[in-house]
Amino acid sequence: MRYWDKAIETIQPEELEKLQVKRLQETIKRACHVPFYQHRLQEAGISADDITKTSDIKNLPFTKKQDLREGYPFGFFAVPLKEIVRIHTTSGTTGKPTVVGYTKGDLDNWSDLIARNLTMIGLSDDDIFQNMVNYGMFTGGLGFHYGAEKAGLTTIPSATGNTKRQIEMIHDFCVTAIHCTPSYALHLAEVAEELQIPLDSLKTGIFGAEPWSDQMRTELEEKLRVTAFDSYGMSELYGPGVAFECPEHNGLHIWHDSFLVEIIDPATGEPLGPNERGELVITPLTKEAMPLLRYRTGDITMLLDDVCPCGRGRKIARFTGRSDDMLVIRGINVFPSQIEHVLLSIPEVAGSYMVYVDRVNHMDEMIIEVEINRQFFSGELADLKTIRERIQRALRDVLELRTNVRLVEPGSLPRFEGKAKRVIDRREKM
């Protein structure tokens, strides 16, 4: 097992606690340069000196995505703009984007985390790495790029688009590792098959920016013949690199020296214990330009109790969905990942699907368009009806909801190169 920074990656609990307390105090001090936090901390009557153990964090106020939006553009910067060397933004579905800034120190810390992750999954200066994500304002492009270079990988900034060219590069440059969204990876595999270009040099696939299921893992690993690794992060927390799967493929290591982790009940804000699923709340411990306190990620996971054989710290479970992705259909909570899970477990269903939610006569209706797998078309309408009923029944068993499944022709649904947007909520907002 190779480590990028063995001392910090395998730090023992008592030492970690000390480091976290020290860094949390520093973070609170930095946050005091932001008017928003000044007020909040004053209201809560708490200062950096009141923190003597990490569990004291529960006395600090939460930060929500909405708060950051209200600080547009530079309201959350804790250092003068002079010291900020990079700006990224994250596109919101509504209104202004969220702006994130980085000092030189931030960029160094961030690329270090990426280098840790890449080393953890066995990549080194022997590898050729094609980074097939957006290189613009999205943090996935530049974030991975500088981390990969730092770890010594031969890095190809291929960005997005022109799938044929991407495939040719993988083939011609003998690329061994790729990074992209899981949906783009499936698209890539399909196109490579159509073009009959073998991608034999590939061994590692890093997939992130959208949640993906275990069935999707099987599909990705079979079609691309790679070992797939889950990558988690968000721009507010530098970007990708926050948590990453190790070769055990049993949860994601989150870097506790850099991120203080809490899991809370999203409805009440109350802390949850290990193995209890809830919203991930993170306080970054090393961020300089934009310190955040108890940032509500909106992502649903849990802290795992087991000790990982790789020697690194406690893991979080793979992500099953975002709390803000959650749909409420006729009063029942539905995560899009549950739908994906069901669909991918049915062999007659091809990779792509779309979910539409409407309100008809004050009742929520969920329409799920499903591409059927070409090879399962027998020519008989009755067989199609049976497939459709099977899918509806499987969905009802898991979601406890009646859905309207529509079979659509293979290849007719959109393929996504960026973040897949498979759920369209067409209900009027109340």
Binding site: I372, R374, F377, S378, G379, E380, L381, A382, L384, K385, R388, N404, R406, L407, V408, E409, P410, G411, S412
Partner: protein, 144 residues
């Protein structure tokens, strides 16, 4: 065996019910000089199956697959029907007597004859009973 010579390959296509799908298929046949002998559309909620009998079956299948349609062959039989009252009844009764289930059927009435296309559950038995009852079956090559 003899009975197999009466099996006719129907081309079945999975199609969503959306504008232009039938036109796309028909245009493909026009471009390839494929003549449609009979066709029917079966529809369920939002999707359906278009069934066609054509003179050039393989060309039709390949062309449609090339256009991205999900296509399959289905074995059917084609019985010549008396083109007068009772024509359908005789055939349906023959199969009913033999406890053979008709999954679906469609028909066409040409210049010289009316033909009933049948998809049944037990095709070999059906052929046997139909021939024994004195009806004539159309062979694939007669569609050319």
């Amino acid at each position: 065996m003899e009975k197999e010579s009466y099996l006719i390959k129907q081309v079945s296509l999975f199609s969503e019910n959306k504008p232009g799908r039938l036109a796309t298929m028909a245009k493909a046949f026009l471009d390839e000089g494929i003549n449609i002998k009979a066709f029917s559309i079966a529809e369920a909620d939002g999707f359906g199956v278009i069934r066609v009998l054509v003179d050039k079956t393989r060309e039709a299948y390949d062309k449609l697959a090339e256009l991205g349609f999900n296509v399959a062959y289905t074995d059917v039989i084609a019985v010549i029907m008396r083109d007068e009252p009772g024509g359908l009844y005789e055939i349906a009764q023959t199969l009913a007597n033999a406890s053979i289930n008709i999954e679906y059927s469609y028909a066409y009435s040409g210049k010289d004859k009316a033909v009933l296309i049948l998809r049944v559950d037990h095709v070999e038995e059906a052929i046997e009973h139909i021939l024994n009852a004195g009806f004539n079956l159309v062979r694939q090559q007669e569609f050319l």
